[in-house]
Every structure is written in structure tokens, then in C-alpha cells.
């Protein structure tokens, strides 16, 4: 009889454990906290913090490298592109940090969440790796700074990986923002247009990072204008019929719209 109760208790315990696991998985699957926490950590304390040690050190390195007289044109373009791309990711990261917190779970979210989290974390690790390398090399070269030791050959591949992780992370964050941030004041046709256009130019700059810096400059100008200086323009879009008219025209005609030029200049 006693044995029988032990068996029944064990069966109940197994059922309870299985049900607990199932429920935990069900709830965590629909949880939106992990992503907003990942964005927050990287923006407020990680590599995307605009006055953080990581960014300041890498940015300083770019500045000094650009002052090197022996730099080739393609290296110079790479560094210029990388510097501006990093700066643009910081601006967009701050914007997403304010918005993704107020998002809800859906299919697009589910599809893109892990890509965003994994690549943000990988970018942060890669940025730390770059900083460690720079620190180590500045110690090694006696009497001169590390950047004078022509470190670009070593750093180049790390920066390329770093930018690639960012590209993947921000490409995933954009559809999440558009589909999951329920607020139409923040997530509307205007903000969606701005972010997709910025994303387009960021992709272009990443693909052609040894070439011209026009793409990244456009992305940076737009991000700086709409996501920081004229942030209120997005917030009041729903109440501005004039702006809605411009956006509608651009959405219909694309680059041939007479307002497209103003859009990419950040003055729509």
C-alpha cells in the first residue's frame, strides 16, 4: 500500500514538473523583456553608450588613424565608414532603447528577437575585444602610442566583424519596432520610412565600406536629424496632415518623389 502511494506521488511530481516546464516555456517565449533588456544594457552601459569608455576609445583610435599620413585611400574610407557607422548605430540604439520597452509580442517579434539579441551581444564582445587589443598594443610600443604602430591591419578584421554584427542586429530591430511598438505616435508611417531608409543606407555602407562615405553620411544625417534633433516631428506626425502628405508621396513614388531629397537631408 505504502509503495503504491509512493508511485502515485512520484507520478504527480513528474506531471507537476512537466507542466511547470511547459508553462515557463510558454510564458518566456512570449516575453518581451529579454530584448528590451539587451538593448538597454548595450545602450546604457555597453558599447552603444555615447560617452562610454568603449565608444570613446574606439572613436579616438579612428581619429588618430585618420591623421596618419601613410594611410591608403581604401583604408581611409574603411575607417571613415566604420567611424560614422558606429556613431549612427549609437543614435539609432538610443531611439530603440526608448521605444522597444513598450512593445508587444507577435510573429515578427518572435522571428527577429534572437537575431537582435545575439548580434547586439556579439557586437559588444567584439567591441571589448577591439578595446583590449588597443590597450595591449599601446602598452607594448615604448615611447609611442599604439595607433602609431600601424595596427589597422590587425584591427581591420575585428572592425569588419563588429560592423557586421551591428548590421544584423539593427536589421532585426527595425521590423520589430515597426510591428511590435503599438504606439502609433512613435511607430507610424513616418518613423517606419525613416528607419527603413536609414537601414538601406547603412546596408549600402556596410557592403561598400572601402568605397565612398556618401551612404553612411546620409544614414547619419537622417538619424541625427529625425531620431534626436527633430524627434518631436515623429511624435507629432499623426497630427500633421502636411507631413502625412509628404510621406504618402514618398511611399508611392520612392526616390522619384520630389520630397525624397528633403527626407534624406533630414529636413522633411
Amino acid at each position: 500500500m505504502k509503495k503504491k502511494w509512493i508511485i502515485i506521488t512520484i507520478i504527480f511530481l513528474i506531471v507537476a514538473v512537466v507542466l511547470t516546464i511547459v508553462f515557463i516555456n510558454l510564458f518566456s517565449e512570449r516575453d518581451t523583456e529579454d530584448l528590451s533588456n539587451a538593448v538597454k544594457t548595450n545602450v546604457q552601459t555597453g558599447y552603444l553608450k555615447d560617452d562610454g569608455d568603449t565608444y570613446l576609445k574606439i572613436d579616438e583610435y579612428f581619429d588618430v588613424m585618420l591623421s596618419q599620413a601613410s594611410l591608403t585611400t581604401s583604408d581611409e574610407n574603411e575607417i571613415l565608414n566604420a567611424q560614422k557607422l558606429y556613431e549612427t548605430y549609437i543614435i539609432i540604439g538610443e531611439f530603440y532603447n526608448k521605444q522597444i520597452l513598450f512593445s508587444s509580442y507577435n510573429d515578427v517579434y518572435a522571428k527577429n528577437r534572437n537575431q537582435a539579441i545575439d548580434n547586439l551581444n556579439s557586437a559588444n564582445s567584439k567591441a571589448s575585444e577591439i578595446v583590449s587589443y588597443l590597450d595591449a598594443n599601446s602598452e607594448l610600443v615604448a615611447g609611442s602610442d599604439y595607433w602609431q604602430a600601424r595596427t589597422w591591419d590587425d584591427v581591420e578584421s575585428m572592425v569588419k566583424d563588429f560592423l557586421n554584427y551591428n548590421n544584423l542586429a539593427f536589421s532585426a530591430l527595425q521590423p520589430i519596432f515597426v510591428s511590435s511598438v503599438d504606439s502609433k505616435v512613435a511607430s507610424n508611417d513616418f518613423s517606419a520610412l525613416i528607419l527603413s531608409t536609414i537601414n538601406f543606407y547603412l546596408n549600402e555602407a556596410n557592403e561598400n565600406w572601402q568605397g565612398s562615405t556618401t551612404s553612411v553620411s546620409t544614414a547619419f544625417t537622417m538619424a541625427n536629424s529625425y531620431l534626436t534633433n527633430h524627434y518631436n516631428q515623429i511624435m507629432s506626425y499623426r497630427y500633421s496632415t502636411q507631413l502625412q502628405g509628404y510621406v504618402k508621396d514618398i511611399l508611392e513614388k520612392g526616390e522619384s518623389s520630389s520630397y525624397y531629397g528633403k527626407l534624406i537631408e533630414g529636413i522633411l
Binding site: 538597454k40 546604457q44 532603447n97 526608448k98 520597452l101 513598450f102 503599438d182 504606439s183 502609433k184 505616435v185 518631436n232 511624435m235 507629432s236 499623426r238 497630427y239
Partner: protein
């Protein structure tokens, strides 16, 4: 024999569980119970008609409750003395508006037979009933607090003090804290009622019948907006000494939000005043649908704002951190984001939506 016993045991457990689940769903109060409790609430209010006056207020041409605070304090309010006018302009306005919504709309629920209730509304009955009882119980507590305040201010030792003396203001703040609890229960009840009214689907039915009722839509939308005012100013600010803490940059940001919120409340009351001939009778059912859709979009903003307000926790920021946002960020690293969301809601979303609503219903 053992097998039979086991089988019977399983059957009995199943029957017991069935009973538990069945009876668990049987404790919803009927509409007649709700009506009885509403009447008890009205009786409790009318028993204290020296405190709750039903007069034609400045809010509308409808008779709203206004509250008498005793001749001394009423005198300060009517003369526009700072800190006292809030009692009339904010606390009483929010109370009157939520109370008037309850008075005008409880019939939507109580006139229904229990058979007419849909499953959604039936599920909300118990909570609605609890809110009614809860609010009714708070009436006596509030009246005692008001009587105690009126008595203190009529006392000769108080009479000689200036209205803005710290002794008087401290006493006023103590009363405001009690008032906050009272208004909070009234707002909670009105919100619960509007959810129940919504779930009955009266607005959907009107649309299906091609009937355009601007006033009903306007009032339903406005009632749902009350937490926007109540939760920040009455609940958050009114329940502690916000104005006594350090007046730094964060203090100024929050004070600015409060000031904007007060302006928005003025516009809110103005829209509430629009009735009869002032309301458009040419608004079509399609336009009513558009207004409701716009309101639904706005409620998302409202929910985000309430979430941000909750996350910000102004009381902790003010009382424990002296409004020092930088220091507070070490404990609440999203405080800046929450504060920005609150600012954006009050300065942009709320005022823009009220402008929209005003032009849409006229």
C-alpha cells in the same frame, strides 16, 4: 475489490473537481444586487448632503457633486488661494466627472436582465460590485476626514494663522492624502463601469443600427481618459509632499508636466461641457467609427503612459532621492525613459487628442 475502490475514488475526485469549478463560477452578483448596492451608495452620499452638494457646477449645465469643505476652506478656494484651489479645480473635478459617469451610465448594466448579460460582462460583475461596495465604504471615512479638517480650520488657534502658514498647509496635505484615496476608489469604480458598459456592446449596436450618438461616444471616450489626470496628479503627486522636496531640474520637469496636465484638464472639462446644440448633429456613423478608432489608438498611448508612470515611481524619486534623477537612475535605470514617455504623453499625445476630439464632435 481494490480495483473497484480505486475506480470509485477517481470518480469521486472528478465529481469534487467538477463541483469546485462549477461553484467557482456561481458567485457573480446579479444585476439586482448591483442595483441595490448602487442605491446604498447613493443613500450614503445623500446622508451627508452637508458635504456632498448636488448643485449646478462650473463643469456643465448638469448637476454635479461638489464638495463643501467648510466655510473657512471654501473661502480660501473662492478667493483663489494657492494650494486650496486644487481641491476644487482638480480633486473635485475628477471626483465629479467620474461620479457623473457612474450616475448616468449604471443603468446600462442594471437595466439588463441576468440572461441578457454576455459572458464578458458577466465575468466583470463581481469586480464591479466589489468596487461599488468599496467606494460606498470609503464615503464615511472621507466625511470624517473632511469634518475633522473643517473643525480644525474653524478652531480659534488656526483662525489667526495665514492660509499659507506651514501649519495649515501641513494639515491640508494630510486631508489631501485622504481625498486621494477617496477619489481613487471613485475613479476605479467609473473605469470598471465603463469596461462593463463597453462589454455590453451598446456602441457597436448603435453603429449596426446606423444610429449616430455623439454625446454617448464623447462621454465614453472622456471617461476612459480620467486615469490620465487622476493617476499622475491626484494619485502620484497628491499623496506625498512633492513640493517640499528639492526643486532641481527633475522637479521642474515634473512640475512642467503637472502644469500641462492642468491645462489639458481645462480642455477636457470644456469638451465635457459641449452638449446639445453645441454638439454636431451632422456627424455620420462613419465619422463616429473614425472617432472611436482614433480613441482606440489613443488608449494605447494612455496604457504606455500609465505603465511609464508606474515604472517611474515619482514618490520614490522625490522622497528617497530628492528628485535627483542621476542618483535615482542607479536604482531605476529606465527612469529617464519613463519620464520622457510621461512628458511626451502629456505634452503631445493627450493635448493633440483632446484637440482632435473637440473638433471631431463639434
Amino acid at each position: 475489490m481494490t480495483k473497484t475502490k480505486t475506480f470509485l475514488s477517481v470518480i469521486m475526485i472528478a465529481v469534487c473537481l467538477l463541483c469546485v469549478f462549477t461553484f467557482a463560477g456561481c458567485n457573480e452578483p446579479s444585476t439586482s444586487t448591483i442595483l441595490e448596492n448602487i442605491e446604498a451608495m447613493n443613500t450614503a452620499l445623500s446622508e451627508h448632503d452637508d458635504v456632498f452638494n448636488k448643485t449646478e457646477s462650473n463643469i456643465n449645465d448638469v448637476n454635479y457633486f461638489s464638495i463643501s469643505y467648510g466655510s473657512v476652506i471654501d473661502g480660501y478656494i473662492s478667493s483663489g488661494t494657492t494650494n486650496y484651489t486644487d481641491l476644487d479645480n482638480f480633486y473635485n473635478t475628477v471626483f465629479s466627472l467620474s461620479m457623473s459617469y457612474i450616475e448616468e451610465n449604471y443603468g446600462v448594466i442594471t437595466n439588463l436582465t441576468d440572461e441578457e448579460l454576455n459572458s464578458d460582462t458577466r465575468g466583470q460583475m463581481e469586480d464591479l460590485n466589489n468596487k461599488i461596495v468599496d467606494f460606498t465604504n470609503s464615503i464615511q471615512t472621507f466625511v470624517e476626514a473632511r469634518n475633522s479638517l473643517a473643525s480644525d480650520f474653524s478652531n480659534s488657534s488656526f483662525q489667526n494663522l495665514a492660509p499659507t502658514s506651514e501649519v495649515k498647509l501641513a494639515r491640508l496635505r494630510e486631508f489631501k492624502r485622504e481625498y486621494v484615496k477617496f477619489v481613487d476608489k471613485c475613479v476605479q469604480l467609473s473605469q470598471r463601469l465603463s469596461s462593463a458598459v463597453d462589454s455590453v456592446g451598446i456602441l457597436d449596436s448603435l453603429e449596426e443600427l446606423e444610429i449616430s450618438n455623439v454625446e454617448l461616444v464623447k462621454n465614453t471616450i472622456l471617461n476612459k481618459l480620467l486615469p490620465a489626470f487622476h493617476n499622475l496628479y491626484v494619485n502620484e503627486i497628491g499623496s506625498f509632499n512633492f513640493y517640499e522636496t528639492d526643486q532641481n531640474e527633475t522637479f521642474n520637469r515634473i512640475a512642467n508636466v503637472v502644469e500641462n496636465l492642468k491645462n489639458d484638464l481645462t480642455e477636457y472639462v470644456y469638451i465635457m461641457q459641449l452638449s446639445g446644440a453645441q454638439l454636431s448633429d451632422t456627424v455620420t456613423v462613419e465619422e463616429i467609427k473614425a472617432i472611436r478608432e482614433e480613441a482606440d489608438i489613443f488608449y494605447v498611448e494612455l496604457n504606455d503612459y500609465l505603465e511609464a508612470l508606474d515604472g517611474l515611481d515619482i514618490r520614490t524619486l522625490s522622497v528617497d532621492y530628492d528628485n535627483d534623477l542621476t542618483r535615482y537612475m542607479e536604482a531605476n535605470d529606465r527612469a529617464e525613459i519613463y519620464l520622457q514617455k510621461v512628458e511626451q504623453f502629456v505634452e503631445v499625445s493627450l493635448s493633440e487628442f483632446l484637440d482632435y476630439l473637440e473638433s471631431a464632435v463639434r
